[in-house]
């Protein structure tokens, strides 16, 4: 049983179709990476699954339910988003931001109960954000904000987490930390995780499967070994690179090559 299933989906803005004929499936505990060049529709896919833009064609099923028939809060109980580079209201504390993750579970007249507070506390513990729970978000670093947004997503108690470029604007240490955390949560909590990623090497290392987008269509999907190769990157990105097996774990590793001496003999 797939928790997330897209069947021949097309998505766009007004008359402009950005994604067409997208068919994807993901099981619980699976980390699925979406890769592709700028403007290939990675963010559009996330906006489509959360119904920020309406479906042009096809169907999206979440936990067996058609997204088009779900109300906003029902959808938010199943699917949580970690947005890219999100501006957060500076005066709220980190804890208050994570508490907002409980929104889809609360009625108009109900207040956060002890149970909600406990869920928030757990989500913050799982993402190591407890230490700055009391700080205002305006004072946090981008790495801390990213973890905080993951905590908020967990507080939604979703079955699916969508991450939009979770490593953008982070240094290499935070990139690894963030994806390690995402991977761990995916396995421990048996979540479906779909992450739009820029960095092909991070994608190959952390994702179970990859879907590579080109011009709004899926160019290929499968394990990193299947998807990432020299020819695919040339076709999809137009870039000439080398792809070698990683010296430690044999996963495909993309290397940039550039000849500074422009073909003349010189230093090697």
């Amino acid at each position: 049983m797939y928790t997330l299933r897209l069947n021949k989906v097309s998505l766009g803005y007004g008359r402009r179709t950005v994604l067409r004929d997208i068919t994807l499936e993901a099981r619980p505990g699976e980390l699925l990476g979406i890769i592709g060049p700028n403007g290939s529709g990675k963010s559009t896919l996330i906006r489509g699954i959360t119904r920020l833009i309406s479906l042009g064609a096809g169907e999206i099923f979440v936990d067996g339910l058609n997204v088009a028939s779900l109300g906003r809060s029902n959808l938010a109980r199943l699917v949580a988003v970690v947005p890219q580079n999100a501006a957060l209201p500076e005066l709220f504390t980190a804890f208050e931001i994570v508490l907002m993750g409980r929104t889809p579970h609360l009625g108009r007249f109900s207040y956060e109960s002890e149970k909600d507070l406990a869920i928030v506390r757990q989500a913050m513990a799982a993402t190591q954000t407890t230490a700055f729970a009391e700080r205002r978000v305006g004072e946090l670093s981008s790495g801390e904000k990213q973890r905080l947004l993951i905590a908020r997503a967990l507080a939604q108690e979703p079955k699916i987490v969508l991450l939009d470029e979770p490593t953008a604007y982070l240094d290499i240490n935070y990139q690894i930390e963030t994806l390690r955390l995402v991977h761990q949560l995916c396995r421990e909590q048996n979540l479906v995780v779909l992450a739009a990623l820029h960095d092909l090497n991070l994608a190959a290392q952390f994702c179970d499967r990859l879907a590579m987008l080109k011009d709004g269509k899926i160019y290929c999907q499968g394990t990193p070994q299947v998807v990432i190769n020299r020819q695919a990157i040339k076709d999809v990105y137009g870039a000439d690179v080398c792809v070698y097996p990683h010296p430690v774990n044999d996963l495909p590793t993309t290397l940039v090559v550039f000849d500074k001496n422009n073909g003349k003999p010189g230093q090697k």
């Binding site: 109980r77 005066l91 929104t103 108009r108 700055f132």
Partner: protein
């Protein structure tokens, strides 16, 4: 590492105990401000050309409650002064102050803009034009025409702005502000033209435009009460939603909020209470922008507390300002809008100096 662990532990203890405690203390602040409002009503009802003891005011008020029988030891003239002249004026000022502060908080939250005030998208200019047209009526019908036209003008202006800004099912907030400013300028130009040709009515019109409670009666209090109460309660119910809206529309939607419906309801409620507030007493400035910010500076940005705090603080603030307006140069009255800015601005600047941090 040990320090990290300790910090983590302290933090985890925090979240469970600190927040309920902090929330409780904010509820105490709300109750405190509500009690302060009662005291302000009683004290300001005692102030005026005829001096009346505050204890007498309290006795009069309690005597009006069911099950309390108090034998009056005051003259019926005093009772007339309090109940027919001072109390309606104080209560209307309180209602209007509460409405403007709540509407200001709502607009600032919806537009996510600290510069927003209840008059941002055309309410003031619409009401002003309506009122100035009302002043053209024969004197006998002015009493009814001015508030009715001001109220209608305010609602009509916002409705037009809304209709212009709306694209299909979506309401882009920046377009809404721009449309509001443009229509406001257009309406203000007509108002200005009418002002130039107003002749001897000019003084009355200017006083109205600056805001005044000099002709308050019970019927006015009774008329605006339902609008302001219903609108305020609706907005209070959306307090938590307004918090989530601070994340921006996309994130709010992804957290399960029907953003377009929320915008429509909150804009409608805030506009309605603002229109009701200005209809009898004119365009009182500054309350709607300063009270929300002052409350935010002291008690933080959580709308669940901010909205009730602003309601009670706004009411007290405008009652006090109006008391100053009617007493300092008595028997001459100063328009209350002059006082709100003259007293409110320095206090606000003081708060800004004290906190010296991001205020929004």
């Amino acid at each position: 590492m040990t320090v990290e662990l300790l910090k983590e532990k302290a933090g985890s203890l925090n979240a469970d105990t600190v927040y309920p405690r902090r929330w409780r203390s904010r509820w105490y602040a709300i109750i405190g401000l509500a009690l302060l409002l009662v005291a302000v009503i009683a004290v300001t009802s005692a102030i005026g050309s005829t001096h009346i003891a505050v204890s007498t005011i309290f006795q009069m008020l309690i005597g009006k409650l069911p099950f309390f029988a108090i034998t009056p030891d005051w003259s019926s003239t005093l009772e007339t002064i309090v109940f027919q002249i001072r109390l309606p004026r104080v209560l209307l000022a309180g209602l209007v102050g509460a409405a403007l502060a709540v509407a200001g908080t709502t607009y600032q939250g919806l537009f996510r803009n600290p510069l927003a005030d209840p008059y941002l998208i055309g309410v003031a200019q619409g009401a002003a034009l309506g009122a100035v047209i009302g002043f053209q009526f024969p004197a006998s019908s002015q009493v009814a025409a001015i508030p009715l036209l001001a109220f209608t003008g305010a609602l009509l202006a916002v409705a037009i702005v809304y209709a212009i800004a709306r694209v299909g099912k979506i309401l882009p907030m920046t377009t809404l502000i721009l449309a509001g400013i443009a229509l406001g300028a257009f309406l203000a130009s007509i108002t200005s033209y009418l002002l130039i040709s107003a002749g001897d009515k000019l003084h009355g019109i200017i006083a109205w435009l600056l805001g005044t409670f000099s002709l308050t009666s019970w019927s006015q209090v009774i008329t605006v009460l339902p609008y302001i109460t219903v609108g305020t309660v609706v907005i209070w119910l959306y307090a938590r939603t307004l918090n989530v809206m601070q994340l921006g529309e996309e994130q709010a939607q992804q957290l399960g909020i029907n953003v377009e419906r929320v915008k429509l309801i909150l804009l409608g409620a805030a506009t309605l209470i603002t229109a009701a507030a200005v209809s009898f007493c004119g365009i009182i400035g500054f309350v709607g922008i300063i009270v929300p910010h002052a409350m935010r500076l002291i008690w933080g940005p959580d709308h669940r507390f901010l909205l009730p705090l602003a309601t009670f603080a706004g009411a007290s603030f405008l009652i006090l300002a109006d008391t100053v307006a009617r007493t300092v140069l008595a028997p001459t009255e100063i328009p209350v809008g002059v006082i709100t800015a003259f007293l409110g601005a320095p206090f606000f600047l003081y708060l800004l100096r004290q906190k010296k941090r991001a205020i929004f």
